[in-house]
Symmetry: D2
Subunit: 401 residues, 4 copies
């Protein structure tokens, strides 16, 4: 069967191919999991849909699934993160890809519909949109063996459906695998947030004061790396235990209101909205930088900032300067979107290797396990363990038994 596709420009394919080839060099765990499955027929002629940020690492996952014999449909979970050259490369490599950078909301949902009406066998979701569509259009779910969900947000949606008794399909909380959440948030986001900030701003971090809102995995990663770059770190928290841990890790801890006037760089990592508000922004130093490393772009109250600032102008790629009525200027990075993806290259390839290997393992589990019921399943421990052990092996590490 020939593949169909909608992409921005098919001529970008060779550039996309180069990107995919690059990341493929650094995903040996995925290669090894693939090797374990390739002599079986579990994926043979199965229909698999992926709705994830469409860039090179995702593309390599799609191509790996295809090599296992499946038909693969791909769209992006966020049209702003779509790389058109990568989509083009998938199109010429036999993937059914429907994705354009900066597609409209209508286009986005039409892509999802186009894919899902082909009656998928299994799907990978990143935020829960496939899940939502298939729960409102259950006719297209008749073949569905299950859904793998990549994010906390999507897992929460699934659990609500489960609690209310409305969940229709077996689902796996991939996000909760130890080999995913222990590594990608702390080390992946921790590092890539700072690469993005220093690349966008050309600023020196040593000697600066960095305010990190939230001390969960992402916050710890961002704070640890800031400390490692010679910054002084201030942490804000609402959880007293995390606040005390931050203190004992050598950071200063205070309210955002107190921190407002001290920070040179502000980074939100909380998952909650309106963490940085006008009451904070008006107290900031002239020249403060605001950015967000959380999943959603609502942690900084940019709508109010836009409304109340005297002016707003783009002064550099992904940097907007807001002139406040108090005459100070503040700089917002990547419009408050998730900085490491919206303003950078996303997670390192060798970190995504872990997460996508878990995805492949979970798809295999859904396709090969009988009698699964509509329920949110944990990632099977043997998959979680397999991925971490393969990663250790790839790093040349042997441990005690």
């Amino acid at each position: 069967m020939k593949n169909n596709f909608v992409v921005r420009d098919i001529n970008l394919a060779s550039k996309g191919k180069q990107s995919i080839e690059w990341v493929s060099k650094w995903m040996p765990v995925l290669d090894n999991v693939y090797r374990q499955y390739k002599t079986e027929n579990v994926f043979k002629n199965k229909k698999v849909a992926l709705c994830i940020h469409l860039e090179a690492k995702t593309a390599y996952l799609a191509l790996t699934i295809k090599k296992l014999g499946a038909e693969v449909w791909v769209t992006s979970s966020n049209t702003l993160s779509t790389k058109d050259e990568v989509a083009a490369a998938l199109a010429v490599n036999g993937i059914h890809v429907y994705a354009k950078h900066a597609a409209t909301r209508d286009e986005y949902w039409s892509y999802l519909e186009t894919i899902l009406k082909n009656n998928m066998d299994v799907t990978v979701d990143d935020g829960g949109d496939i899940c939502e569509y298939l729960h409102t259009h259950s006719k297209y779910g008749k073949n569905l063996k299950g859904i793998c969900e990549e994010t906390t947000t999507g897992v929460n949606r699934l659990k609500e459906l489960e609690k209310s008794g409305k969940l229709l399909y077996p689902s796996i909380a991939v996000n909760d695998a130890k080999s995913k959440h222990l590594f990608d948030n702390r080390y992946g986001t921790g590092q890539s947030t700072w690469t993005a900030i220093t690349q966008l701003t050309n600023m020196n971090i040593a000697g600066k004061t960095v305010v990190v809102a939230g001390y969960g995995w992402v916050g710890r990663g961002v704070a640890t790396r800031a400390q490692g770059m010679g910054a002084e770190v201030i942490v804000t928290e609402i959880d007293p235990w995390k606040a005390l841990e931050a203190k004992m890790d050598g950071h200063r801890v205070m309210t955002m209101l107190d921190a407002s006037s001290l920070g040179d760089f502000f980074i939100t990592t909380t998952g909650f909205s309106n963490i940085i508000r006008m009451e904070h922004i008006t107290r900031m130093k002239n020249g403060a930088f605001l950015s967000n490393a959380g999943h959603f772009d609502f942690e900084i109250d940019i709508p109010s900032l836009k409304k109340q600032a005297k002016s707003c102008k783009v002064v550099r790629d992904e940097i907007e300067e807001y002139l406040l009525t108090n005459k100070k200027k503040v700089y917002v990075l990547a419009q408050g979107g998730i900085i490491n993806i919206a303003g950078g290259l996303g997670h390192p390839a060798d970190i995504m290797d872990l997460s996508f290997s878990v995805q492949l393992g979970c798809l295999h589990f859904l396709l090969s396990t009988k009698n699964l019921v509509p329920k949110v399943y944990k990632v099977p421990t043997e998959i979680d363990r397999l991925v971490t052990e393969e990663k250790l092996k790839a790093e040349g590490i042997t441990i005690d038994k």
Copy 2:
């Protein structure tokens, strides 16, 4: 009622008093929890037994409980850690104390018996000996409202009793409180292990290779502090996720066999026995130091070492030199006992402030809550939260809501 006691030398009381006064200055959380309870009569005339390492911080807990109106009985959970001067100070301050440094096993159990036959209302255990006694002598448990357990080991004993349906009393797993286990192992043991090692050995740590067996809370604390002192750290683990975390935290990870020939200092933190065995010791560099930061003294196989070494002599306080048949010498610190207590001052006072405040809160809970059943209870969240919030307050920290 006058108190009874058995102590080594009552004349040591003034020296003990000085130690207790010192630590009392750094336990403001316990003072604040005390203040919340002092207008109530919950502890009034109640009998409370403590069986914990008997040193200054424990003594201050005992005196605080007494100030709340209780009769307090104290013995030590480990006769080697008993400070005779502290016991003497308790004796002259109205505490029923039965403890001598290096008491025999028979004396130890007779102390417990003497205390428990007075029919306690509540008890604090550290390892589970009170629990064992009261399950085999249940006639003395007729007034017992419950047991608070400080350690992982003791909590495990309680859970086995619960599972087998033999648990007779409500019990609280104090060890599992977030305000305890997140802090005392990582920060308390982490630091005090290194103070003990550097004080005992007078060695420079910068530039040395430190092998840490185990990457749980204690292992992380010990490894982080070693890194902070300029050492290169090697971690050994059996858990692949922890091994990978150690690697990503910048440590080298390998088997103990491979690490054996590389380390200058070896520190076990696993909770398992025979982690360092003769096959490792014979590969070590001449001059290697062996120590243990885990609860029990069985992590280094000292019995085999004693048997197979050509000679063993004490070369400095708490340091034994073993001459091996391969002509190399290795040095064992504190006979393989828990280094920060057996070879040092134990946890810092301001860290024990957290743990003992949880203990006081849990005793209060047991005494003031009706209808508790024989079951292992978690520490009530409001107590856990209270302690951490009081600690933040004591540090002058305000956080967001």
Copy 3:
């Protein structure tokens, strides 16, 4: 007088203007030094030539000198680092600019000649080419009050001239100012090297082994930041004291031959040639990355690598893959050129603020001091102090007297 210029494309000026405006926001020290001089006439109608990497920060120095009343001539010290849009922006702002990205060697020297035959009053050199030209064409030096030199290399050239009695002009070793060399190498290069590497490769650094050749200021900066990102660091050195310092800072120390098979990333920082040779490269792991943070591109023996490799291809921007005869692949970043400039944005703006403020102060000194003789002068302490004190003021820091 109207300015003359040779630039690639004058239409790029508005883009260049944006870049210059951005960095100008983060150079408050230069602004303050400017303010101290602006009421004097020292620079009035003086001719000043700059031959430095031509990018935004350099451009802002040029414009600042022009604001003080001077005529400013600018070319680039390295045609590969020239930003055409910045050159265009200078051209439309009245600077005599002669620079094109990737200009030929002949063009380069013709630019220098065009500028220098206008008989400069003072010059800023970066590597010593102005100096060389004016020593071979001394007729153009008749008005010359002196030369400021930015680099170690250039300072060494000057000292040789001085020693041989051939130095014709007063010269200042700007590089040796404490406010320059203590900061830009360690903090500036340290950080920007890693931003470049992570941006070019999209690789995770935590858990990797990084081999740093050389433990001078640059090497320390690169090693410290690597450690701060969670890498294990190996240092190679030829100086025993630096080797021992590296060891005591927690790094492993060994020969390059031993390190060859262990590293994931190799970074040379020595200033010497052929630090990484084929005997090392053939021992490396498959997938090793080679890069250089030293001034010259001769630290990795790329000529031999090119000759002996089975193939070489560009696999990503600024990444060349070499397939060795042993079937392993290694990746060379930025062709072995100075990674933070050739593969990134160069030093952070707020670090260059220090160096360029020293330059401005030294130009002022040359123009306003009588009776200077042909000699290599140190930066006057009062200028060095002024710049650092202004930096502290800009950071809002007050210190004791």
Copy 4:
């Protein structure tokens, strides 16, 4: 010739012998330098005087010199640091030792006189008292080939004598050797200061605010280790470059007046007097700790504190509690004397190995070099290099050439 001695109690010798044997295990560099000299007769029957802190490491140096054939006379440079058991052990091992812990000033000078009137060939000084004596009693210097000086203070005294033309003997500034000053201050004092503080106080350092006065080698060592223990560090300085370095190393920088109200621990490292004065102490938090890691005990103005406090009492070994008129209490460690020696074990043995090997090398140089003149000599580079290369060898490190 039988040796003479004055010690507190000769019966302590076996305990002292144990201490000396312990440190001798960790001084392999001194052993190797000894081996290079032992076949020569340079030290044969020469008279060598040492006036250094008299503890185990010094004793091992004395015994090593004796093994080379010299007659060795020893006294202590500071009577408070004298270990009586070590002195006793030297006495029974044939060293002419004159030293008692807490000897009076008169006794101290009588010991020096007793030794020096024996007409030494070479001497080792620590602070310059031998030098002073021999310049006022030059009749005893008739055989003197030269003086080795261990400290900055002593070197400064020597340089003043040299400048004023009054220096009578060749002298070597041992303190300035790279293998000494690059290592013992930063790593030795850095670590041993914290061992002393945590051992004396039993306080947790993680989460505390540490104020370090001075950012020279000692200050950097103390600050780096504090950071490594999880503290937040504030640095005070008078030198703007060091202040800026401290800032870029991630510390906060401010005046002592501003820091006063923020610190939990204060540590002076400046070498200047009255760094912490009453104006600072009265602003401190209740419970602040004051200590000094500089050579002299004058950095904290304890005389004023004693006068103005309402009371002062010893509350624990080496801890004095001062009650201020503002009702707050502050704690002074080791009476403001150098904390790592007065309150601890001094430098680690393996760090002193470097310094004392340089001493041995310099004594050898003085005894074997002809035609030295009264002048302050640098340590010969070949000795400095030898010591560092032997240290690398002892650590099993090979470096590139």
